[in-house]
């Protein structure tokens, strides 16, 4: 009996018992759908993460005030701290120092408003973060010195406030002040999204965070990537000195190495993938057992058919193949349905915007092949025992079976 004939008769058997076939496939459908969807989300998440880190500058170190409760006396980071780090004599390994200060603020233009993250920056930030000017210009040193009331809009904020109009030159209100838009930025993607505004650090300090010389975060970059460890020790000694921290006492600031964060997030993601794999494996095993069970029932029900087929010349191999292919086809159909549902799910999810985050599930050809391969494999494995039982049946006894 040819493979084609076997496939045809397998399809007939599946189709002639639609409800049962569907219920049997359900395990595989759910398993494949869940795994494909989760894996595609994982891949989408990973892609987003990579974009985020590229935007943030993966080689930068971020200094922020310690949140450790054990540290009792904390001196906030200041603009002076940032300037001290630029001193080549005490911190020769540091090339870029970019202090920032952030706060949430509601900005309005005409009838449109948006609640966004406002960040006070110095122009040097462009050496750390991948800001690309879309229209107008970026913040300049003069803006910082003059505490100008100017802002630069993130891509999405520009769209929300001004629609398709060019925002450059427009006046935007925020927290009781007016700011002139001098530029907009290109789309960046990643977790931060594009819903933000930038303004000169000094303007931020005086207008939005109640004066003072404080900053929230200082990003620094090493002269070269092999000097990251020296940067950490230089930052530590400069800041401990400026913050009057006695020897033995803990730092009142923390230094975050983005590479470490990236590595730990990737480890988390790997763990997540492993977990998804386990969930998938379990659902496929359950689905496989369902298929085995129904194939055993089917062999019993069709004992007479097997007897007839053997009487007119079917060999063991023919019967074996018939039931094996039937199990594989059943499972593959389930896999295809599951894959279809997953693709639909991914499509629907891609259209839903999750706040600022833009995670787009990615269904790669690799996942598709693996899902279908695994479906066929599950069918073959779970069909083997029932198929052997069918092939071994005695023709006379089978013919007598009612």
């Amino acid at each position: 009996m040819s493979l084609w004939e076997s496939l045809k008769s397998a399809w007939q058997a599946i189709f002639s018992n639609k409800t049962r076939s569907f219920l049997t496939m359900l395990g595989i459908v759910i398993g494949v759908c869940a795994v494909v969807l989760l894996v595609s989300l994982g891949q989408g998440f990973q892609a987003s993460m990579t974009t985020t880190f590229n935007n943030m500058g993966a080689s930068a170190l971020y200094i922020s005030t310690s949140t450790d409760k054990a540290v009792t006396s904390v001196r906030p980071l200041t603009l002076d701290d940032a300037e001290a780090l630029q001193d080549k004599t005490v911190a020769p390994s540091i090339s870029v120092v970019s202090p920032t200060l952030s706060s949430r603020v509601t900005v309005q233009y005409g009838n449109n408003s948006a609640n966004v993250q406002a960040t006070g920056v110095k122009p040097v930030i462009t050496e750390i973060r991948n800001y690309q000017v879309d229209q107008g210009r970026f913040i300049t040193d003069q803006d910082v010195t003059a505490r100008s009331n100017i802002i630069v809009l993130g891509y999405q904020t520009a769209t929300v406030l001004c629609g398709t109009d060019n925002p450059v030159g427009k006046s935007v209100r925020g927290q009781g002040s007016k700011y002139q838009v001098v530029g907009t930025l290109q789309k960046m993607g990643g977790f931060g999204g594009d819903s933000y505004i930038l303004m000169p650090l000094t303007t931020m300090q005086s207008k939005l965070t109640g004066g003072g010389n404080n900053v929230q975060q200082i990003a620094v970059k090493a002269v070269s990537s092999d000097l990251v460890d020296s940067v950490i020790s230089e930052v530590t000694s400069v800041l401990r000195n400026r913050h009057y921290i006695r020897t033995g006492a803990a730092d009142d600031f923390t230094i975050t190495d983005m590479r470490e964060t990236l590595a730990s997030m990737q480890a988390t993601l790997a763990g997540f993938s492993l977990f998804m794999g386990a969930v998938g494996a379990i659902s496929l095993i359950v689905g496989g057992i369902g298929i085995m069970n129904i194939m055993l029932v089917s062999v019993t029900e069709r004992t007479r058919e097997i007897g007839i087929r053997k009487a007119i010349g079917a060999k063991r191999r023919d019967i074996l193949l018939q039931f094996l292919i039937e199990a594989a086809a059943l499972s593959l159909t389930g896999g295809l349905v599951g894959l279809g549902l997953a693709m639909l799910g991914a499509m629907l999810m891609g259209n839903i915007s999750l706040g600022n985050t833009t995670v787009t599930p990615v269904i790669s050809a690799g996942i598709v092949f693996i899902a279908l391969g695994v479906s066929i494999g599950t069918g073959l494995v779970s069909g083997t025992y029932p198929a052997f039982r069918a092939a071994r049946l005695d023709p006379i006894e089978s013919l007598r079976h009612e």
Binding site: M1, S2, E5, Q12, S16, R304, E305, G307, I308, R309, K310, A311, I312, G313, A314, K315, R316, R317, D318, P395, I396, L399
Partner: protein, 222 residues
């Protein structure tokens, strides 16, 4: 062409041994039309199963078409059934989900033949139900189903057709139609062996073998 020599078939049921066939010897030439008669339990079906290579005897040898069947594997027996033997059963034994023509095609699938559709249709036409080709067994009368079964038995041009009570489920008129059909095939040179309870069915054949308790008690030419 068919030769049974000292064939015994013994069933072990617990302590008791039942000899369904007891040292039976029997020969038959090509083209003979034979009936086997006997009471229920006399061993007719057992003999047919052995003749049909569906079952193996406990002892004795069976030679068909100059080949001793004894040493054959299950798959070789399956090939034998497929190419040289045709079966007709009392309960037709058609696959209920397949159409008449698909049922007739089945043996050709297992022997890997081409042009199956045409050949199956020709076989159905030869037994007079070409028009019923696309009907399922449940849509046909018993007589029609038995004709499909005969077409299926004939499709691979067998040497022997083995029919175990082929008219057992049919009314008198149908029974005679089916027997006429078998007579027709017999005239073409096919060897036919029919099991029956009824004398007027056996009357269609040229020779009758009477079985009792697994022994041939009479073998008469008509």
């Amino acid at each position: 062409m068919i030769e049974l020599k000292n064939i015994s078939k013994i069933y072990d049921i617990g302590d008791v041994k039942v000899a369904a066939l007891n040292n039976v010897s029997f020969t038959c030439e090509k083209g003979e039309f034979i009936s086997i008669m006997g009471h229920s339990g006399s061993g007719k079906s057992t003999m047919m199963n052995i003749l049909g290579c569906l079952d193996r005897p406990t002892s004795g040898s069976y030679i068909i078409d100059s080949v001793d069947v004894a040493g054959m594997t299950d798959d070789e027996l399956a090939a034998m059934r497929n190419r040289k033997l045709g079966f007709v059963f009392q309960s037709y034994n058609l696959l209920p989900k397949l159409t008449a023509i698909a049922n007739v095609e089945l043996p050709l699938i297992y022997s890997g033949n081409n042009h199956r559709r045409q050949r199956a249709l020709a076989a159905l036409e030869a037994v007079g139900i070409g028009k019923r080709a696309s009907h399922k067994p449940s849509e046909m009368s018993g007589g029609e189903q038995q004709r499909v079964a005969i077409a299926r038995a004939l499709i691979n041009d067998p040497l022997v057709i083995l029919a175990d009570e082929p008219t057992g489920n049919l009314d008198t008129q149908m029974s005679h139609n089916i027997m006429s059909l078998l007579v027709e095939q017999s005239k073409k040179g096919i060897t036919i062996i029919v099991v029956t309870h009824e004398e007027d069915i056996a009357a269609y054949t040229q020779r009758t073998i009477y079985l009792r308790d697994g022994i041939i008690i009479e073998d008469k030419k008509r």
